[in-house]
């Protein structure tokens, strides 16, 4: 379980004006589930992720991972970035070997991500979707208990994204890790998540939490059922209301 307790964060802008980003912010994220954090741009999603990852230190407040203080970045929770974060000078295999010594596990994940045939290639030689898959399995192949994903599909086209979502779901189910997905895509979050947290900004607060009913889980291919549409509309209006 990840707990954020009384997080306060503010910074001074150009005019020396103090801007409060988080004020007594609290959040609990359940173990072994996928939690999506949604909100419009500028709502503080990425800042929140950076705080959880330990890249940004809040002015006050604590981040706990399974009850233990997690204030510096570490192996227990790793980040899969929106931008390219693969080591360009390492082959596909080397990119995985630097985070894990378990060669069987690496093999297994390469297979799951359909990258076995490319293990000797450099990232530059792969397609955008393949690179993203590699970046994702690099997170999952490590021993991290928690994976933080910052808009991992932001730069991909629709078809690539659709295929990737299905593969990601397979990987998620196979590994049983705690996952936080930062996104602004409602369909994507309904498809992958067990729970959705909607944020509003300045200071960042939680507007609403949705638990995704199991019957709507992972059904992006038939997003036309009444229940799905209702949930989607409800999420949409909550996001709209929050950005007013």
């Amino acid at each position: 379980m990840i707990q954020l307790k009384d997080i306060n964060l503010s910074f001074s802008n150009k005019n020396n004006h103090k801007e409060v980003v988080f004020k007594d912010f609290n959040l609990e994220i359940k173990e072994h589930l996928v939690t999506s954090i949604i909100g419009s741009s500028g709502v503080g999603k990425t800042t929140l992720m950076n705080i959880i990852a330990g890249y940004i230190k809040p002015n006050s407040g604590t981040v706990l991972l399974n009850g233990k203080l997690a204030n510096v970045p570490g192996k227990n929770r790793v980040v899969i970035n929106q931008e390219n974060d693969l080591f360009e000078w390492m082959t596909v295999l080397e990119n995985l070997q630097i985070v894990s010594n378990d060669s069987n596990k690496i093999k297994e994940f390469l297979k799951m991500a359909k990258l076995s045939a490319y293990s000797g290639d450099y990232p530059k030689e792969l397609s955008g979707g393949m690179r993203k898959r590699l970046s994702i399995i690099r997170g999952f192949v490590s021993d991290a208990e928690c994976i933080l994903m910052d808009e991992p599909f932001g730069s991909l086209d629709m078809v690539t994204k659709q295929n990737l979502l299905e593969q990601l779901l397979t990987i998620i189910k196979a590994t049983n890790k705690t996952i936080i997905l930062i996104t602004h895509d409602i369909d994507e979050s309904i498809y992958l998540s067990d729970e959705i947290v909607i944020l509003a900004d300045r200071p960042t607060k939680i507007v609403k939490r949705y638990e995704i009913p199991t019957e709507l889980h992972h059904h992006i291919k038939t997003p036309d059922t009444a229940d799905f549409l209702e949930l989607r509309n409800s999420l949409k209006s909550a996001i709209f209301r929050s950005s007013d």
């Binding site: 570490g74 974060d85 450099y122």
Partner: protein, 255 residues
Amino acid sequence: MSNILKNKIIKQLLVVLFFLFTWQIISTLNQKFNSFVSSPTEVAITIFDGFTKGSLIIDVLASLKRVTVGFSIACLVAIPLALLLTYYKNLSIYVEPIIELLRPIPPIAWIPIAILFFGLGDNSAYFVVFIGSFFPIFINSYHGASSLPIIYQNVCKSFEIKGFVYIQKIIFYYSLPFIFTGAKIGLGMAWMSVIAAELMGAQEGLGYFIQMNRLLLRTDNVIAGMLLIGVIGLFLNHLIVWIRKLIIPWENDST
């Protein structure tokens, strides 16, 4: 692709041939010019004779040896130092001013000191070559290593990649293209420095060869020496480009 390359080489060869041809024509037509600048054919014969009958090969090898030793020591010192200073940022505060102070001093200015400390032999030449090539290699490596993008730094923090593995597998490999740029400039500087050092104090080497023949008024030999310096410099430059392509396969287009 190879056709474009062939075309390029042919064009470049044509320019060289045109230059040599013009030089030959002027030398043949203008006796006054020819009296103090030898013609290309004369120079070619001189070089051929120098290699077959004379001791030119000894001079070339002597210069190459000095460049190789001095340049290698410079690489061995500059690259690890640059990587370490990037990793231990606190140290760089102390080292940076020293380097910035020494950097503007041209290698030639070090020659008297080098001779004083190391005598007239190879050692002083090694030192001057080292000084000449150290700074470009160090500055470029340091610049490369310290420009490691935040995203990689964050990934390394997340996966706890640190210590020697971080220096070797992340900083070093990331900096390799920069290191090679430095090495390319450094090798050019090394070659210039060795000639300068040999002009002032040496018993053999291409610089010594030019200096001796200047005193003997053998212009053909002087020009032969100059041409050899140019050709070997060009060859060394290509050698670095070739090694770079071999060592950095993830970088498709190198300059």
